[in-house]
């Protein structure tokens, strides 16, 4: 049996690795190569220009504007999504205070769980279209409600002061459901007797959450942080569908810059690849940093 092990492993491993190499790794490497050329995308010729594209990147005001927006996303998206996710998950799983056993969710938590997960089953494009109508300045759900209660109704997606934040809200809305489920699952794994002990000591919900639940969920929070950080550096689909980076570039992101440079208003594939390479390193360093910064001792339940 033992000597048959390696052929088996190889048979299972080689095809996926080959596919990964051809369809993921090799394009990456080529993107690096293309980023050092002035390739315009529609002929087979391109001149090697060294690091000129990267030099131009540094002086590209439109790109810096996009980087700034991504940086804001990078800070706010994980914080708000994880915060809301933890809050909802703990309410659904241990927020209820009826009875003495205590460790149950609020009333109707089953239904809430279902509702929170809705956005996750919709495709991002559908979410974008849906919210575009919700934000419709005259007939939208949001402004109709605001007018109904006598509040001013801003032009959400048409005003540089609000457009970016309106999209950020949608990003959080569409992400939070998944993390509620993720955190909820992790909470289920925490032994109930810990909570019973905490409650006997008379801890409030807030103390329970911050002193017990979050430390015990740290691994999961860390994963969520990295996922969300990566999502924050992207944001392309929602932005492109909802605002196309406008008005006046106020909601631009790096991914949209790259897309427009190659496929949109220009065909500068060399320059777009350079933007892609920068994004690659940004994403990679953010992921590594997030892992480093949040490293803690792992708690094992015995």
């Amino acid at each position: 049996m033992k000597h048959g092990k390696y052929p088996l492993i190889i048979t299972f491993l080689v095809p996926p690795l080959l596919l990964y190499g051809i369809f993921v790794l090799s394009p990456y490497l080529q993107a690096f190569q293309i980023s050092t050329t002035n390739w315009l995308g529609y002929s087979a010729s391109a001149d090697y220009v060294g690091l000129e594209n990267f030099g131009n990147l540094l002086r590209d005001g439109a790109l810096w504007n996009a980087v700034r927006n991504n940086a804001i996303l990078l800070v706010l998206l994980p914080v708000l999504t994880i915060g809301l996710g933890l809050f909802f998950a703990s309410m659904l799983n241990m927020g209820g205070r009826r009875g003495t056993a205590g460790v149950v969710g609020v009333r109707g938590s089953g239904a809430y769980k279902l509702v929170y997960f809705f956005p996750q089953v919709l495709s991002v494009v559908i979410i974008a279209l849906l919210w575009k109508e919700v934000y419709h300045p005259n007939n939208g759900l949001l402004n109709a409600t605001l007018r109904g209660i006598g509040l001013p109704a801003p032009t959400w997606l048409g005003d540089p002061r609000t457009a970016f934040w309106a999209v950020l809200a949608v990003m959080i809305w569409s992400n939070v459901g998944f993390y509620v489920v993720l955190f909820g699952a992790a909470m289920q794994a925490i032994p109930k007797d810990i909570y019973e002990a905490v409650m006997l000591d008379g801890a409030s919900r807030w103390t329970t959450l911050t002193r017990v639940t979050i430390p015990l969920l740290w691994d999961t929070v860390q994963v969520a942080w990295i996922y969300l950080a990566i999502a924050a550096l992207d944001g392309f689909i929602l932005i492109q569908q909802m605002t196309d980076g406008g008005p006046n570039h106020s909601s631009d992101v790096i991914g949209l810059r790259m897309y427009n440079t190659a496929f949109g208003s220009e065909t500068k594939f060399g320059y777009a690849s350079a933007i892609g390479v920068v994004m690659f390193f940004l994403t990679l360093s953010v992921a590594v940093l997030a892992l480093r910064a949040s490293r803690r001792d792992r708690i094992e339940y015995s």
Binding site: W39, Y42, A46, H136, D159, I226, T243, P247, T267
Partner: protein, 470 residues
């Protein structure tokens, strides 16, 4: 657990577009530039066959599957095979011209005819500067297929050759003819007893009247505010003559800040200042704003003649949309009120490396025949660039008004092409400036400054090829 996931997520999130472009062009860079397309198939030229089509050579046609659909193209293809029964035609239609065809251009095996249109259009500056397009000059000098005694050149509406020419070479045949103007519903206007104002003062007076009646005078596509650059530039061209547009097209210094542009921007600022624009317009996209307009919430909208078919599904019966030229600024205008922007659109091209280049040209000649053009107008309710092809056809209300307006405009018609030469300038830079201006955040002077800054940015970018409009 997570490292592998991280990599995968990174792949998905960060380099969304790059893997695709890199992959599809696998051996693109460093490959040889010439001959990869092989020899072009050619037959012997004759009176019957002036372009030298090889009668059994296969022909590949790629159509943009947008507002016009693909049925009209299938009819043209049938006409082609009627003349060359031995030829087989490979037809395909897509909305993503760019993503579908980019690898084939790099590979040197592009199709023979490409309808390069829509949001996924390939930037012409990129194509032309990389010599990817065949010269269509030969087609212009070939005799028309079914209009006796005329060359193809003489069967085209004015401006068609101009708009498809880059540095004097005719490379792009735009097949549909589009008029740009200001649209309103004749029903609404008759019901209320309003009259379209021919001068700007009359227009403003009418706007006041409309607003008093509880309707917003104007709306526009806030997500694509460049639609509003068209009436502004139109007004400037009518005031200052064709050179105003030429200066903009040729990226001349301070072309956007010419006296005519200043006067036009000042004039249009009035509708912003006086609150004549429907509140919320900056937050609408083109379909949303056009729909508000169709619902009678706003009286005027700036658009091209595709508006009628784009809105067909939501236009109420009896709405009767009509196009009118931009109002004149005053008696000092160089062009009369009737002058309007008309231009050929819906571009077709034959790639330089097409295998059956002669067949591609012949296909365009088939499209430009009287029979082909009439069939197009009948099928898609749009004008073609062939003179007189609408005669006898029954046109919908809006298109009838377009034909009438273009007739009245006649030789005073004008156009600009900077949007073809430098796509980014209109689509991104002037677009953003219009958004700021028409939502009231910038003054006319700041608006023109922002446009000029955009033009200067393009002018100063050595990686963008510059063209000169004659």
């Amino acid at each position: 657990m997570k490292r592998r996931d991280i990599l995968r997520r990174t792949a998905a999130a960060s380099l969304l577009a790059v893997p695709a472009t890199g992959l599809l062009t696998g051996c693109a860079l460093g490959g040889d530039d010439d001959n990869s397309g092989g020899e072009s198939l050619e037959g012997t030229k004759s009176e019957q066959n002036p372009l030298g089509v090889k009668e059994d050579a296969p022909l590949e046609v790629v159509i943009f599957n947008g507002g016009f659909g693909e049925e009209y193209a299938k009819a043209h293809e049938a006409m082609y095979t009627e003349k060359y029964p031995k030829a087989t035609i490979k037809h395909s239609a897509t909305q993503e011209i760019n993503k579908t065809l980019q690898p084939r251009f790099v590979d040197g095996t592009p199709p023979d005819v490409v309808n390069n249109s829509g949001a996924g259009q390939i930037d012409f500056n990129g194509l032309v500067s990389q010599d990817a397009l065949a010269d269509l000059g030969e087609l212009l000098d070939a005799p028309s297929l079914d209009i006796p005694g005329k060359k193809v050149r003489d069967t085209l509406l004015p401006g068609v050759v101009d708009v498809g020419s880059y540095d004097g070479k005719f490379l792009v045949l735009s097949y549909a003819y589009t008029a740009y103007g200001i649209w309103y519903s004749t029903k609404l206007f008759t019901d209320r007893g309003w009259q379209y104002g021919k001068t700007w003062d009359d227009h403003i007076a009418l706007c006041r009247q409309i607003k008093a009646a509880g309707i917003a005078p104007w709306t526009y596509a806030g997500k694509h505010p460049r639609y509003m650059s068209w009436p502004v530039i139109s007004m400037a061209v009518k005031l200052g003559g064709q050179d105003v547009a030429k200066a903009i097209d040729n990226l001349e210094p301070n072309a956007w800040k010419s006296d005519a542009m200043k006067a036009a921007a000042d004039a249009w600022y009035q509708i912003v200042k006086d609150g004549f624009i429907m509140p919320g317009s900056p937050g609408l996209d083109h379909v949303q704003s056009q729909t508000e307009w169709c619902r009678g919430k706003a009286a005027f909208i700036s658009c091209g003649s595709w508006l009628e078919s784009e809105q067909a599904k939501v236009t109420p019966a009896g709405f009767n949309m009509t196009v009118a030229p931009t109002p004149s600024l005053g008696p000092g205008d160089k062009l009369p009120f009737e002058a309007m922007r008309g231009t050929a659109s819906e571009p077709f091209m034959v790639p330089a490396k097409a295998k059956n280049r002669a067949g591609g040209l012949e296909y365009l000649r088939t499209m430009l025949s009287m029979k082909g053009a009439q069939d197009f107008t009948k099928k898609v309710s749009s004008l073609s660039v062939v003179v007189g092809a609408t005669q006898g056809a029954e046109l919908p209300v809006g298109l009838t008004s377009v034909v009438k307006a273009l007739d009245a405009s006649g030789s005073n018609g004008f156009n600009w092409v900077y949007n073809n030469y430098y796509r980014k300038l209109e689509r991104e830079l002037v677009d953003a400036a219009c958004g700021e201006f028409f939502s009231g955040r910038t003054t006319p002077a700041e608006f023109l400054d922002q446009c000029q800054k955009g033009a200067d940015q393009i002018a100063g970018d050595s990686s963008i090829k510059k063209y000169k409009r004659q």
